[in-house]
């Protein structure tokens, strides 16, 4: 996917932006990490401000953990540099860096009590025993584990172990806390509770959080800013709304939320709008200096698509045929086929004024000009999920009833 040659400029501007800003707590400057001939992290650069909740989001194997491990000091960058509070730490071992990690499987010391687990940090930094203990107790209170201080990790539930891991990582008063999918092992309910808990603790201690996750919802709800990664590269950095409303690449648009991604051809740009040919019609979308030319992708979020059944309005729209209707609770998911055969997905809220629709009905799909985005590169080929759905649908239709 990355061979369209657009990302390098993207990440280069991100680097420049990070370098130009005020002094960041954590700065990555053109960091690359290779294992043998495999590139795990590829020319990544960004800065994280003090007190920020910063997420690294991306699919499995995209290099999130490797990036985090380089910040923690477990891996040395192959090239590029990492600065903590302004000092280059690229070759400083983990035990001399003032950042702490919450590991995915907690990595609590099984032979120590909760209190000793938490006091291990200050003890390692040669804090006197009594002080280390009182500091440990203080942090154990912050994570509300004071009733379990004398237990061993094996006698705690997953959520409780999670809190201890958090306390242990906070007790050294780090300049930043690194969390590698800390909620990955918890069930959905506990996960949501812990998300709130994490935000509360972050507010309370005011420490920079670098949070690794592959769960886009988690990243969107918790983060101040998100870096979306793919195949070792940072695709886009921005606030959750920026990432959702104005994805920079086809990958980001497809990875965060749901998106209609249609191949299109840019035919002209004028007064801040781009005209594209897509879905057998000429459509407009807002343009900026980064807008591509020629072959591109038009993106529209399903909830921005309006569907009208009766007499096509003069407003620009696309004629389409209803192919599928799924009631999904708060929204109805409508699948439409445009004149050129492309699929248009629309999410229609409960306040719609649509008549009763069935597959085969003719409708018009439209959206505000501002809802469309022209992205560089072609949309990805239909993925296995879609393919499977279609086969299933065919089976369903041909089955005797």
């Amino acid at each position: 996917m990355g061979d369209e040659g657009v990302e390098p400029e993207e990440s280069a501007t991100a680097v420049a932006a990070a370098g130009a800003g005020s002094r960041d707590t954590i700065e990555l400057d053109r960091v690359t990490k290779t294992f043998g001939d495999q590139i795990a992290v590829n020319d990544v650069g960004f800065g994280i401000a003090e007190g920020e909740f910063f997420s690294l989001l991306g699919p499995s194997g995209c290099g999130k953990t490797t990036t985090l491990r380089m910040i923690a000091g477990f891996e040395v960058p192959t090239s590029g540099s990492i600065r903590l509070a302004g000092a280059d730490v690229s070759h400083v071992p983990p035990y001399k860096r003032n950042v702490n990690t919450v590991f995915q499987h907690y990595a609590l010391f099984p032979h120590m009590t909760v209190r000793n687990n938490v006091a291990f940090g200050p003890r390692s930094k040669k804090v006197p025993k009594a002080d280390a203990r009182s500091r440990a107790d203080e942090v154990i209170r912050v994570v509300r584990m004071e009733d379990f201080a004398d237990r061993k990790p094996g006698q705690l539930s997953g959520g409780q172990q999670q809190r201890v891991a958090l306390a242990r990582a906070l007790v050294n008063y780090p300049t930043a806390l690194l969390l590698d999918e800390p909620l990955g092992a918890l069930d959905l309910k506990l996960r949501q509770a812990m998300q709130l808990e994490l935000k509360r603790i972050q507010r309370e201690v005011g420490i920079t959080f670098v949070y690794v996750t592959h769960d886009q919802e988690e990243a969107l709800t918790m983060s101040d800013r998100i870096a979306v990664m793919s195949e070792g590269r940072v695709e886009q950095i921005g606030s959750p709304t920026e990432i959702y409303d104005a994805p920079a690449t086809v990958f980001v648009a497809g990875f965060i939320g749901q998106a209609n991604l249609w191949p299109c051809t840019v035919v002209g740009a004028r007064n801040g709008t781009t005209s594209v040919e897509a879905l057998g019609a000429t459509l407009t979308a807002p343009s900026d200096e980064a807008s591509p030319e020629g072959e591109a992708t038009l993106m529209v979020r399903p909830e921005r698509v309006r569907v009208s059944a009766t007499d096509p309005r003069p407003a620009p729209g696309v004629n389409a045929t209803v192919t599928d209707l799924v009631f999904q609770g708060p929204v109805i998911r409508l699948a439409l086929a445009a004149a050129d055969g492309s699929e248009i997905v629309a999410h229609v809220g409960s306040d719609h004024d649509l008549p009763f629709l069935r597959p085969g009905d003719e409708v018009t799909a439209s959206w505000d000009t501002g809802a469309g985005r022209v992205l560089p590169g072609r949309p990805p080929a239909m993925d296995a999920d879609d393919y499977f759905d279609e086969e299933l649908a065919e089976d369903w239709e041909s089955a005797p009833r």
Partner: protein, 288 residues
Amino acid sequence: MTTLGTRPPETTPPAPPPTGAAPSPSPLRRVGPWLLNGYAGAVVFILFLPILVIILFSFNDPVGKFNFVWKGFSLEAWQDPFKYEPLVDAMIVSLEVAAVSTVISAVLGTLIAVALVRYRFTGSGATNTFLVLPLTTPEVVMGASLLTLFLDLNWATGFWTIVIAHAMFQISFVALTVKARVRGFDWSLEDAAMDLGATPLRTFLRVTFPLILPGVVAAAMLSFALSMDDFIITLFNSGNEVTYPLFVNNAAKTALPPQINVMATLIMLASLVVIGLSQIYTRWRTRG
């Protein structure tokens, strides 16, 4: 179904319909467990028979110098187990050799095991292979070649050559045993310790070592036993030093007092106590 259809029609008559009563278990079903238990019991009995004989004959009141024929019950040997000084000396030599060689092999074997599991380095594959050799090579070959080496070096054989010879196979044994334990070790614990500010040394002493200690202790105990009862390799490299197995072997030609049995029984009791204590310790640790 299609393949079935091409087959010639079945010629065998259909199985007789089940009789009304529930099928009674075959006789083998009922006797089977008894046979199995009886067999297992017999095997265990045969395995332990020599040990039982040793214990039993420690209470014998033997005729003459040899303790081979049961004559009558006596507590005489137990009342004075240390009557024969050479026997006691030999036991002390054995204990000393085992203690020294076990400490050496426990330390070196553990370090080898950790290194082999934790790191990939040039020669790690070869080390893995060489590690097995001392345990698989016939003891005669090991003993003889070691002796050749000591002679070449012009070293007088004695206490320290026995220690070296024992440590050689004990290191292999400890390394292989501890390796099995270390392989299941969660290395992110080391990352966590260093992340919290512990130096590599403190990480090893406070996190890695305490967690693999049970494996090290078990390996050390077994390798202590290996040293205690080694005969062939010791025979080659002992010089004038006499260990317990060597003494018993010599004594078998001249005199076998029941004190030998008493001492063997004492060793056995001691090892049972150690095993029991380690069980209690493990249970206490896991209970927390």
